[in-house]
């Protein structure tokens, strides 16, 4: 699956090494404009490392990344990139509404806070300190935080991990609306049904490389379901 220079995300020959371990190894990947790209892979396959490189948090040893045509982390695209880290991404003592209000204030044209919290059901716990929120509520706040600046591209690192089925479906619905509004979404997930339901394009990583990529239809054209394709092209994480 080849990306074009005009694509919102172009990753070319990316390599990242942590000590003697290769986290990413000649990784090539791209995201199409106004679509949802899902990155799948076992634990340790390099998904979070990839997201961190794309957001400028990690500098690769070799290779190149272009996000919206610029180098990751450059100030000229900072307001156009949304990010939901895998960890909580919030101070333990901050209130949910306070966090979103603060983050919205960093942007010139943020989403309407009231409308966002109403849509995601955050209003009822907006005055609750973050550490007292349930895991699902924290995930919802984190997702809202990634979207509040009205980004052109958003990176979501396992946005539905730990959510109950109702919350997962609500998140899927939200992501479809975000995509329909013209936002490019790149997300990592372990959930095959999620990738199948949402993704326009899927990359399956294995030990730092793209093992296989394509649309759901392309990946399952041989009659295998997506999970079978995933299992056939990936190895279990080391130590399991």
């Amino acid at each position: 699956m080849h990306s074009r220079p005009a694509d919102p995300l172009v990753v070319d020959g990316l390599a990242v090494r942590f000590g003697r371990q290769m986290a990413l190894d000649d990784l090539n990947l791209g995201a199409k404009p106004v679509g949802l790209t899902a990155v799948l892979g076992p634990n340790g396959a390099g998904k979070t490392t990839l997201i961190r490189c794309c957001t400028g948090l990690l500098r690769p040893a070799t290779g190149a990344i272009r996000v919206l045509g610029k180098a990751p982390g450059s100030s000229s695209i900072a307001s156009r990139v949304g990010f939901m880290p895998q960890s909580s991404g919030a101070w333990s003592g901050i209130k949910a509404g306070e966090l979103l209000n603060y983050l919205g204030g960093l942007y010139a044209h943020p989403l309407d806070l009231r409308a966002l919290t109403d849509r995601l059901g955050i209003g009822e716990y907006a005055a609750t300190p973050y550490r007292r929120l349930s895991g699902g509520q924290q995930q919802t706040v984190n997702l809202a935080a990634a979207l509040i600046g009205r980004p052109a591209i958003v990176f979501l690192d396992e946005p539905t991990a730990g959510l109950d089925p109702h919350a997962r479906r609500a998140t899927w619905h939200l992501l479809r609306d975000v995509r329909a509004a013209g936002v490019t979404i790149v997300l990592t997930t372990h959930a095959m049904d999620e990738a199948e339901a949402l993704a326009d394009l899927i990359y399956i990583l294995d030990r730092g490389r793209v093992a296989i990529s394509g649309t759901v239809a392309e990946l399952t054209s041989s009659g295998q379901n997506l999970e079978d394709v995933y299992l056939a092209h990936t190895r279990a994480p080391v130590g399991t």
Binding site: A78, W91, R150
Partner: protein
Amino acid sequence: MTALDFTPAAGAAPPVRRIMRHGVLEARLLTRNGEQLLLTLVIPLGILLAGRLVHGRFGPLEVVAPSVLALAAWSTGFTSVAIATAFERRYGVLERLAVTPLGKSGLIAGKSFAIILIMTGQVTILAGVAVALGWRPAFTVLSAAVALLLVIMATATFVCLGLLIAGRLRAEATLGLANLIYLVVLAGGALVVPLERYPAAVRPVIQALPTAALGEGLRAAAIGYALGGPVIVLAVWLPAAAWVARRGFRWTA
């Protein structure tokens, strides 16, 4: 209800507004944290009151009051910054904010603004209480200027050292180590106990510490003397600490 429009609309708030928002938020979060308040205010106030009531190890109020102001800079600049930043790193706060229009440099500027706000509050309260207890400082224009310079240089040095620990160790390890260093320096860093009260054999070593430079410099400034030695000590420490922090700091856990 306003419609929710996800259509991309790029734009960052003005830099000054971003930095001020961050500084105010960090300062507000600190005031909600009991442990941080203990370090930044309760312990310095306790030493100030103890120094007033008992002329013991800390000496008279003329010595205790500037010493406590030096302690406030140490607790805010080093211990609070180290602990708070370590948990920000662990919780992914640094990761998230680095990818907003605030960015890494704005985050550092915002933290600096938070420290200024906190220290302004600390100095106002501690100096106010000291004056109420009978402290009558005798700053000259020159000694006050040197005192301000020392506070800025020392706090910046402490912040760099705090960030270095926070950026290398796990949050729990940072919590333990930062508190341990705080206590060791409190007792042995010539911060609140004047250098002359330490054994002669260890004085040259202690004198070279940034905490001693701040403590000695402030005590002298409060009685009208502008010392150059502490400025030189900090002029060596500050660039070294900044270089090490810049090299060693990690944004992600």
